[in-house]
């Protein structure tokens, strides 16, 4: 059976995430700030009665911060016993991977390098496969903190 991929728009690019890692897609109602937390943490939000730690996808790639206001599209990813919501610009679709991911042989660019798990063909396009857990872990400085 082919792997399912979730296609999202992040930092202006279309990227793929393994759908198996993703619990769902939500529109967050609001974010409570978590002052002094790691820089890629946008804050906290609630999903039903669970607390979600909101990860700013842009900040995790060290591309700045997501703009305030507007709809807050996020994908829900459980990782390491906690549940995270990764902010993305848009969620597009769930598609079947045409074939297994392969390693990218060229540099994919600063920021992307750390979260890239390879490239994958889906729906006729070649997309960067992103590891959501690497997005959650954030830039190395945050991890060291």
């Amino acid at each position: 059976m082919a792997d399912l991929l979730l296609i999202v728009r992040l930092a202006g690019r279309r990227v793929a995430l393994p759908a198996a890692d993703v619990e769902g897609v939500v529109e967050l109602e609001g974010i409570t700030a978590a002052p002094r937390a790691a820089p890629h943490v946008a804050g906290l939000s609630a999903l039903r009665s669970r607390v979600l730690t909101v990860i700013d996808g842009l900040a995790s790639l060290e591309f700045g911060r997501a703009g305030a206001g507007g709809p807050l599209e996020a994908i829900v990813v459980p990782s390491g016993g906690h549940t995270y919501a990764i902010l993305v610009e848009a969620v597009e679709d769930v598609v079947e991977a045409a074939r297994t991911p392969v390693a990218v042989r060229a540099p994919v660019g600063a920021g992307w390098e750390r979260v890239a798990a390879g490239m994958v063909e889906a729906g006729g396009d070649l997309l960067l496969l992103v590891d959501p857990h690497a997005l959650i872990a954030g830039p190395p400085t945050a991890r060291a903190a």
Binding site: T32, A34, L44, S45, R48, V51, T53, H82, A142
Partner: protein, 780 residues
């Protein structure tokens, strides 16, 4: 002991279940060595345990089966069908006995012998048919306990916590929308149900601390033997309950503290004798509940912590500078035992005090929201107090705000809440830091807004006085103080915890996430250290001590009659719910039965008709009484100005707290009026009774025991304070007695030298026995 027996029975039942397949297989293939060994191990284990628990019937059966199986294993006997079925019959009987013990029923013992003789070589009954064991009669009581995995309990707890939050959200939406009385009534009912389920599940997670304490005697014995020291262990408060998970979390720190006490605290017998102490060291481990916290105290009477050596070591390790060390008060010096870096074993051998991994102990306890305090007197011993919250998941908290956002602070760390810029508390800038002076006591001040890096509001700021671990109080300035809430706290993600300020996350009633602040983490982030805190704290110690002396920590509660009352917290041992049936009007007063004791009940006019009754268990150190109440309101620390009542009674007076009249209980009067007279401390006096006299046993013995005597049977070599004898017969020989009390059966005196007492002259009996007791106490 009961717990141990129950554990043993449950374990045996489990083993039997696991063994049932093996038994069947062995029956089919008696030469199967592996199966035989398994069954042998089972009866062997049962035999061993029975000896310990004094269960002679089980022991006899398992012993007989073990003997036969040993013969088979050694090849002395063949495992023929008759032998197999005889063994199986014995194992079935063991199962029946275990069940009978659990349900408390009697099981006829006649055919035990028959089963055992069936194991013998000669067939006792012609070819004992593999008669199936009589199926357990249907009428037997069902088992009242089952064993559950903690995982399942956790899932239930999480589910209920979620249900509580979902209920809160639903409630909020209902309030926002149009009113619908029928819908609201249904919601109220649902809400009540969820609350009850939460209470029940919280209780299932509670376990008596006994399960932690039962391992202590053995550990102390082994350790003291290993170190060649004599240690007398006293354990108290085993019936205090706390969260299972919490229990596991304090197991290691407690073990560590006790090991330290025996290793470094208690001196060898010779040294103790030289210091004029009892040869055997005393180690006291006690638990009690105080409000929402459990206090575990470990005290020894050893040599105490050598503060000087500790400071020298700390200077050498670079933890404090020599100049700073000069200014440390004794309390701060002791707190150095918790400093990391003083902890590696190699360094510690040079110190005569303690320090082995105490930083780890503190870290572990703080991780579960607890604190640990140390107190030591040179030559007199060390007292460590661990304070942990009742449960990990629901904690009482105070919500505060900073920069327009709500945060929660655990209630356990809060000493006091003050308004900034009033007479009580004023704040001064000292260089780049702030110091708050609160009633003559100076503490460093941190601003929550600065800590969080958010903009502060200017008006009406409040100061929360916090006391995290290690005794370093500090003040925290916040924009506003909101409310007390019971919060379901969950751990925060690592990227959030990295801030070093938070202890977890939770959801408010309106569904917004709230971060729970970590008081000791904030102190660390603010850069408060022992030494700095100390310099600031030295301001006016006398004034602080004075202020502290005038303050009383009070538990505010609502009585059953709806009245607002308060009782000093140290008097409250714990809070407990009992079913209404536990309360009875018996022997002239209201009493309540708890686990294994009966306590006098005050604060309650008549037994409750149904439901449950909440109790405060009050203690004066020796006696205990129960006090019925409706709900806990708060714990407050204040200097009381009491208006005394016109007549002495249950109330010491009325005080004004938060503008409300609160009746303050008078514990002295309560105990004088209600407590059962305390037994004299120490060993009770001993009274020897002649054996085999039914009148003595049935009529006299209860009277003697009610006077505080321990009754023993008179006989050769018995030592007693009082010996009872019949005036008509000979006194039992061989008893070394302080005095002999002769009782006669006739009412009239027999001759002038008759100093015996008529056996129904209660007054004279009581007087004579009280004299014996008084003599004993005077001697002692």
């Amino acid at each position: 002991m009961d717990d141990l027996i129950n554990d043993f029975l449950a374990e045996t039942r489990d083993m039997l279940q696991a063994l049932s397949g093996v038994i069947v297989a062995w029956e089919a293939e008696p030469s199967d060595r592996a199966r035989l060994d398994e069954i042998f191990r089972f009866v062997h284990t049962v035999k061993g345990n029975c000896g310990f628990f004094d269960l002679p019937r089980l022991q006899q059966l398992s012993h007989a089966a073990e003997d036969v199986l040993a013969d088979v294993r050694a090849g002395r006997r063949g495992a023929d069908a008759r032998l197999v079925s005889a063994v199986l019959a014995v194992i079935d009987r063991i199962g029946e006995l275990v069940q009978a013990l659990e349900t408390g029923e009697a099981l006829a013992s006649e055919d035990d012998e028959q089963l055992i003789s069936a194991l013998g070589k000669a067939p006792a009954v012609p070819a004992l048919d593999p008669e199936p064991p009589a199926p357990a009669p249907e009428t037997k009581k069902a088992m009242r306990s089952i064993r559950l995995s903690v995982d399942l309990l956790d899932r239930m707890m999480n589910g209920v916590s979620d249900a509580v939050l979902a209920r809160n959200e639903l409630g909020r939406r209902l309030r926002d929308g149009d009113r619908d009385v029928a819908l609201e009534a249904a919601f109220e009912r649902l809400s009540g149900c969820i609350g009850e389920i939460r209470d029940a599940i919280t209780r299932t997670r509670m376990q008596r601390i006994d399960s932690l304490f039962t391992a202590l005697p053995r550990m102390v014995r082994d350790l003291s033997a290993e170190l060649g020291k004599q240690v007398r262990l006293e354990v108290d408060g085993g019936d205090v309950e706390l969260d299972r998970e919490m229990l596991e979390m304090i197991r290691d720190p407690l073990t560590h503290i006790i090991r330290n006490a025996i290793d470094h605290g208690i001196e060898p017998a010779k040294e103790r004798a030289a210091a004029g102490k009892d040869k055997a060291g005393r180690l006291r481990v006690a638990a009690r509940q105080a409000g929402n916290q459990i206090l575990i105290e470990v005290a020894d009477d050893g040599r105490g912590i050598d503060g000087e050596a500790l400071v020298r070591k700390a200077i050498a390790a670079g933890i404090v500078t020599a100049e700073k060390a000069e200014t440390l008060s004794p309390q701060r010096r002791l707190a150095l035992v918790f400093a990391p870096g003083l902890s590696t074993a190699g360094e510690v051998t040079a110190i005569s005090g303690r320090g082995v991994g105490m930083d780890v102990v503190r870290a572990n306890i703080e991780r579960i929201g607890g604190v640990v305090d140390v107190d030591s007197r040179a030559g007199e011993g060390v007292r460590l107090v661990i304070r942990v919250p009742l449960t990990l998941t629901i904690i009482p908290a105070l919500t505060v705000s900073a920069g327009g956002q709500i945060f929660a602070v655990p209630r356990s760390a809060i000493e006091e809440i003050l308004r900034a810029g009033t007479g009580v508390a004023h704040v001064e800038r000292v260089g780049e830091s702030s110091v708050a002076t609160i009633r003559g006591r100076r503490v460093p001040l941190a601003d929550l807004c600065d800590l969080l890096g958010v903009a502060a509001s200017d008006e009406g700021r409040k100061i929360v006085l916090l006391k995290p671990a290690g005794g370093d109080s500090y003040a925290l300035a916040v924009d506003a103080v909101h409310d007390h809430e019971e919060l379901v706290v969950k751990p925060a993600a690592p990227a959030v915890m990295a801030a070093g300020l938070y202890a977890g996350t939770t959801l408010a009633d309106d569904g917004r996430p709230i971060l729970l602040l970590d008081p000791s983490g904030m102190a660390g982030q603010a850069g408060f250290r022992f030494d700095e805190a100390e310099v600031a704290g030295r301001g006016d110690e006398a004034g602080a001590a004075d202020a502290a002396a005038r303050e009383t920590s009070l538990l505010l509660f609502r009585g059953l009659d709806g009245g607002l009352r308060a009782v000093p917290v140290p008097v409250v041992e714990r809070i407990e719910d009992v079913p209404a049936e536990a309360v009875r009007f018996s022997a002239g007063r209201l009493r309540v039965s708890l686990a294994e004791r009966i306590l006098p009940l005050a604060g309650c006019a008549e037994p409750p008709k149904e439901g449950k009754l909440r109790l405060l268990r009050l203690t004066d150190g020796a006696a205990e009484i129960a006090y019925g109440f409706a709900e806990v309101i708060d714990i407050r620390s204040l200097a009381l100005e009491l208006r005394p009542p016109p007549h002495p009674g249950e109330l010491a007076g009325v005080a004004l707290i938060d503008g409300l009249q609160v009746e303050v209980l008078d514990p002295h009067w309560l105990f004088a009026a209600h407590a059962d007279a305390a037994r004299p401390a120490g060993a009770p006096p001993v009274c020897a009774l002649p054996e085999g006299d039914p009148w003595m046993d049935n009529m006299l013995r209860p009277l003697i025991e009610s006077l505080g005597y321990r009754v023993v049977a008179a006989g050769e070599g018995v030592e007693a304070d009082v010996l009872i004898a019949c005036a008509e017969g000979e006194a039992p020989a061989g008893v070394a007695a302080g005095s002999v009390l002769r009782l006669r059966t006739r009412a009239e005196v027999d001759g002038e030298n008759d100093n015996s007492i008529y056996r129904y002259d209660r007054g004279a009996l009581v007087a004579a026995l009280s004299r014996g007791e008084a003599k004993e106490r005077a001697d002692g």
